[in-house]
Each structure stands twice: as C-alpha cells, then as structure tokens.
Subunit: 403 residues, 2 copies
C-alpha cells in the first residue's frame, strides 16, 4: 500500500479517485491537484459523500516542474497518477524524476500546437527512469491500457503470438444532445480529424480520416458503424509484438456525430492554428470546447452501454492451429453513474488508471524504466478488472476478423 | 448633382462607390469613411483603376455622432449613404440631423445584442427629420429596396392594390466552398436562425426557422428549394399597403447550407450571447464570422446567377379581374465581378444603394421625413435599374402563387 498524488480533476480523475478511495488497503492516502483547486474540492466532496474517505486537494500548475516536485515531497507520495491533459505528460515525468517517485498516465504526450500522436517523447525518458530506479507506466486507461493488457493476456494464456489484432471501441450510449463528445472535446476532435493509420506488414498505412467504415455487431450493444482510426497503442503494440502482421484500431461514431465533425472542420472550427479575433489570439478548437457541453455534465443524461475489446488471431498455444479470440468488456452508462457519478467513457478510463496505480503500489510492476502496458504481467490487473467494475469475457470466434 | 459621404467599406460599399464613380454627372464628389481607413483606401484604389475617379477616404467610428457630424460638415456633403453594419443606423441618423443632411441606408437598425428586426427604432425619427426638413430613405438595397419598388410600380401601372405578395430571393451561385455565406456571415446567420414570420389577414404568423420549404423554378437559374423566412420589408410593405392580405418572403438555400447552419446552431456557434473563454468575453457568432471565408473574397470564385423578385396578385387596373404578375431581375455573378470586382449578392445591393442616392441628389425623393421604399415614386428608379446593371422583366402568370 502507499500514498498517491493524482494530477487533473476531470471526469476520469473523479472516477479514479472514487475507486482509489474504495480501496484504502491499497491507497492509504490520496492527494488530488489541478490548476483549479475548486474542481478538486468538488471531487473530494463527492468522494467523501460516497465513501467517507477524505482527500487532500491542491491548486497546481502541472507545467511547473519545481512546484510539482515540491508538492510530491511535501505529500510524501511514492506515485504520481497523471490524469491531466496529454500536453502535461513530460513536465510531470520531469517532476517525478526530480522528486524520485514513480509515474503513471493514461494518454501519450502531445505537443499542444500539433496533432501528433507518438511515444517518442516519452520513450526518450527510458534511461533516466532506469538510472533513477523509478518506474513510469504509460497509458493505463482502457484504450490504450486494458486493450494492451488484453493482448498480452491472450499471448500468455491462449496464443503463441498475435498475427492480426483489431481493437474495437464502441460507445453505444446516447446523451440526448445533437452533438457532444464523450470526453474532452479538444482531444477527441484532434483524434478523429487526424488521418487514419494502421500497421501492416512492417509499415504504417495511412488513409484519410473517417474514410473506412465497417458495420459490426457489438455484444451488448448491437450493430454500429465503426471507423478505422489511428490510436496510440498501435505504435507500442506493434513495437513490442514484432510478430504482428496487421494491427488496426476502430471506433464507432453515429452519422450525426460524423456530420457535426465534418461541418465543424469545413468551417475551420477544429483548427489548432490560432486566429486573431478582436485583437486576441484564439485557437478555434479550444473555443469550440468552450461552447460544447462539458462531457462531465452528461453522466446523468447518458443511457446505453460501451463495448471495448480486442479481436486477435494467431497460432494456438495448444498446437491446434490458428485461432481467433474476441476479448471485451461491456459497461453500462447508468450503472457507472449510479456508482461514482460519471458515465461509462470516464469510468472505463478511470478504473484502469486505479488498477494500474495499484499494480505499482502493490509491488507487481516495479521494474525501473518506462513501460507500455503490453510489456507488463497482465494476470493481477485482469483479475482486478473483474473485481472492480470492468468484468471481461473472452470468446473464440470461428474465423479471423472478416472486415 | 451633389456630394455624398458613404460610410462602410464592405462588398456592398465597394459596388455602390464604383457605380457612383461611373455617374459623375450625379455624384460630383464621393467621400468614403470606415472604421478601418485602409479598407476605404483599397476600394478607392480599385475605383481609380477602373473609372479614373478619385475618392477621398477617412477613418471614422460611425458610432461617434460628433465625429461623423464633423466629417459631414468638413466634406460639405448633402447626403450620407450608410453601408455600415445595421447596428450603426441610429448613430448615423443622429449625425445627419446634427449636421443637417439627408440619410439613406440598405438595412434596418438592429440592436447588437438581440436578433430583432423591426423599423420601430428608425420610424421614431419621423418627426425629427420632418422638423429638420431632411429626408431619410430606409432600405435601398435589393431586398429590402428594389422588391418594394417593384411592388409600388405594379400598383402604379398594373394593379389596383395588392392582395397577395411573395418576395422570392434566389442565389443560384456556387463559390466552390463547403460553406460560406453570401454576405456578412454574422448578419446572414442572425437572419436565417430567427423564426419565420409572414403577414396574413392582419396579423403575423410565426413558424420555426427553416421549417417551410418549397421548390420553385427560378427564371435563369432553374429549380431550387426556397424557405419561408422573416425579412424586414414585410413590416413596412404591410404597413404601407393595408390592402395586402398575405405577404411572405422566401429565400433559397442548398441542403449543404442548411446542414451547416443547423450544426453550427446545435453546437452553440450561432449564439449572440457572450461566453467567457480564457478570461475574455467572446460572442460565438462573431468568432464564427472570423473563421468563415470573407464574402468579399469569394467574387473571383463565384459562378451562376441570382434571381430576385416579387409575385403579386390583385385586381387589374384595366378592370379585367384578378391578375398575377412576376417581376424580377436576373444577375450574373461573373459579369458583376468583371464589371466592379464583386459578386452578384453585393452587386444587387450596391447598385440600388447608388440609385436611391441618385433619387435624393437629383431631387426626385426630397419630401422631409423618414420613408420606406414603397412610399416613393418608382418610375425613375425603375428606369435607372434598367440602365445601370439590374434590368428587370415583368411577366403575367396564369394564376396566383400556388405554394
């Protein structure tokens, strides 16, 4: 067990902190910091009400390495859980190195002025963390995160390597609004307007954003259209599983969602290039975020389920030839809201953040260095998913993915 | 002939000033003022190049009544032609009264913080202009403007009163962009997102914005969908023609235009309520204007034609029973651009502004007071339309409008 500092106070943070508070045998003290202290206080009040656990809160500029290091020392934590914006990953890694503690996040670093998703910046910290004897865990959300653990679990228990991997992310929820993103609109729209990219025969294959659409019948949800996209775990999964011939990422979007994003892109509202407006520099996408509904406010209105998982094909461990497994979790928006006051998209990211943090605090994941999720032993993590709200199922399919 | 001060330096102003310069026997001196003097200088350079006429330019805040009155006195003009934003109408009328000169505009006053289109504010100046012996002409664009003159011409020459009036505004042009408004996006979107309203049997009938769609085969353009909308001339036409049983305004929009406006409205980008963004108050619709293409830049890319006119039904003057006439102008985007460097939407507003100003300077429209276009003698105005780029045709239809 140990003390943890959570940075960031959005929907994912609220879920993770609730779940930490529900496991005091692992998380003996929880500290919560964000630029806006009042958002931390709001989460702390909710957690106190639901669990009786008190959480200490702080105002903190996560880009200020010295201030973060000072707070780490002051609180005496051994792990920083970064649930802030991906722009802040490197500053928080620097602060962990400076203060000599472990690090965990749920999304890879992105420069704020460029929609560029790659691990290079964070992998460059490998030697520093090794030399310091510290552990940095990258991407312990659902995707990336659980989807990589799923793949590693299949390789440990079912398949002698993975030949084809498809990650399928379906949100079958309905919030009743004409348009709202499931999580931070700025990050969401940067992702969906970027070109699609998948790994095939040792190289990246790029296609225009939202140009490949496939209908798929999701367990617990039904048929939805899913779109080929780039997602950051494709880079680490293909790097750490060199046997993979093809790795793809798919996400479902309704026609109305696609139409809204297309129009907003047409008129320039998704741009991250600043424009001058009445003498002030404004980034259109950030202003769009300001006018769009706050995803954190949608929990009470959202009904339906999410279904996220992997379809993996490879040679069976038992020598019975090529096999295909589909491993997934189904999560219900209303049940999540009833439990922790957040809908399933925040829940499916926040719970794995807690479980990843637990692996570090419990001493299961302690090798010095910078690690992606597929590099770590999956068994205790998988067992915790079942116990802490994200139960998974694995089924054998008759054939590899036909799409 | 006389001296004129034009206020405003957008697309309509550029057309009006070009056309004034082409008629030096009416416009002996042209002065041009706008908040941004460089925009006036750009227009002056274009006019000089095309016509050889020199125009004096000034930087002016049109909301500053004293500054405007001083400029009027300094230039010695007898008429102010207001082609600025409709928010500035009252300030410019005040300046004309203070300096003792006549006034003409193309769009009724709107308060900036409310999408409210009515003449009450400007009609309240009636006594002041009468007492000062000055003339104020309201709405001398195409619609409002020519469409009211068309109605009055029909009443003078063809019909003993109008029973039913439909104003049909079709822009069959294509600028090749996914979305761009034909004129100031802020004013355009305020108009199209407002509820539809028409005059019927002595009262206003309101319906949701864009909810009544009718296909119509426009002369010179072909079939387009037109939508019932409110437009300001309905108020003055029904007031000054009490015999009108029904008056409606229709405008064409393509499906893509409707979709873009709907999405932008859904996400809150058409709102005129300020929101706080990074500590600055921003009006979403004004920021949208900043990111959208400047309509003035579309001239070179726009092809196709506009067709704007009136369908009017009433008892024939010759006693032959009820008759229906369709009177309209067809205008070609590329021809307008070749002549004055602007597309047809600016052209069809700027030319009538010049012709209305000519009526004042030539002494045809000089009665003291505040006048809407349908109250004034149409004949010389109609004759000038034919000679100055907006030739019109009148055809008798077999029956009243069937839509």
């Amino acid at each position: 067990m140990g003390k943890v500092l959570v940075v960031g106070a959005g929907g994912v943070s609220s879920v993770a902190v609730h779940k930490m508070a529900m496991n005091p045998e692992i998380f003996s003290e929880i500290h919560l910091a964000s630029r806006t202290k009042s958002k931390c206080d709001d989460i702390a009040a909710e957690v106190k009400k639901r669990t009786g656990v008190a959480i200490a809160t702080y105002g903190l500029d996560a880009m200020d390495v010295a201030a973060t290091a000072a707070l780490i020392r002051e609180t005496g934590v051994s792990l920083v859980v970064n649930l802030a914006l991906p722009y802040q990953d490197l500053a928080l890694m620097d602060a962990c190195l400076e203060a000599g503690v472990n690090y965990l996040d749920t999304a890879n670093y992105e420069p704020e002025d460029e929609a560029k998703f790659e691990y290079s910046w964070q992998w460059a910290y490998q030697d520093k963390f090794k030399a310091a004897g510290l552990t940095a865990i990258l991407g312990s959300g659902f995707d990336p995160g659980v989807t990589s653990v799923f793949a590693t679990w299949l390789k440990k228990h079912k398949l002698d390597g993975i030949r084809q991997l498809d990650i399928l992310d379906c949100n079958g929820g309905d919030n009743g609004l004409p348009f709202a993103t499931n999580f931070n609109p700025e990050i969401n729209i940067r992702e969906v307007t970027a070109p699609a990219r998948h790994w095939e025969n040792g190289q990246w294959v790029e296609s225009p954003a939202m140009s490949t659409k496939v209908p798929f019948d999701f367990p617990g949800v039904g048929e939805k259209n899913m779109y080929l996209m780039y997602h950051e775990e494709l880079e680490s999964l293909s790097t750490h599983n060199p046997e993979i011939e093809r790795a793809r990422f798919w996400m479902t979007f309704g026609d109305a969602y696609i139409n809204h994003v297309t129009v907003l892109e047409n008129v320039g509202m998704t741009s991250i290039q600043p424009v001058m407006h009445n003498g002030v520099e404004i980034i259109p996408l950030q202003f769009l975020k300001t006018v769009l509904p706050n995803p954190g406010d949608l929990g009470a209105k959202t009904v339906g389920k999410t279904c996220i998982g992997d379809i993996a094909t490879g040679p069976a461990k038992d020598g019975s030839g090529e096999k295909t497994f589909y491993i997934y979790n189904i999560c219900d928006h209303e049940e999540c809201y009833a439990e922790v006051g957040s809908q399933a998209v925040a829940y499916t990211t926040g719970v794995p953040a807690m479980i990843g943090a637990a692996q570090v605090l419990l001493g299961n994941w302690t090798a010095p260095g910078v690690w992606n999720m597929e590099q770590l032993d999956p068994d205790h993590y998988m067992e915790m998913l079942n116990r802490h709200g994200l139960p998974w199922q694995v089924v054998e399919l008759d054939a590899p993915a036909a799409f």
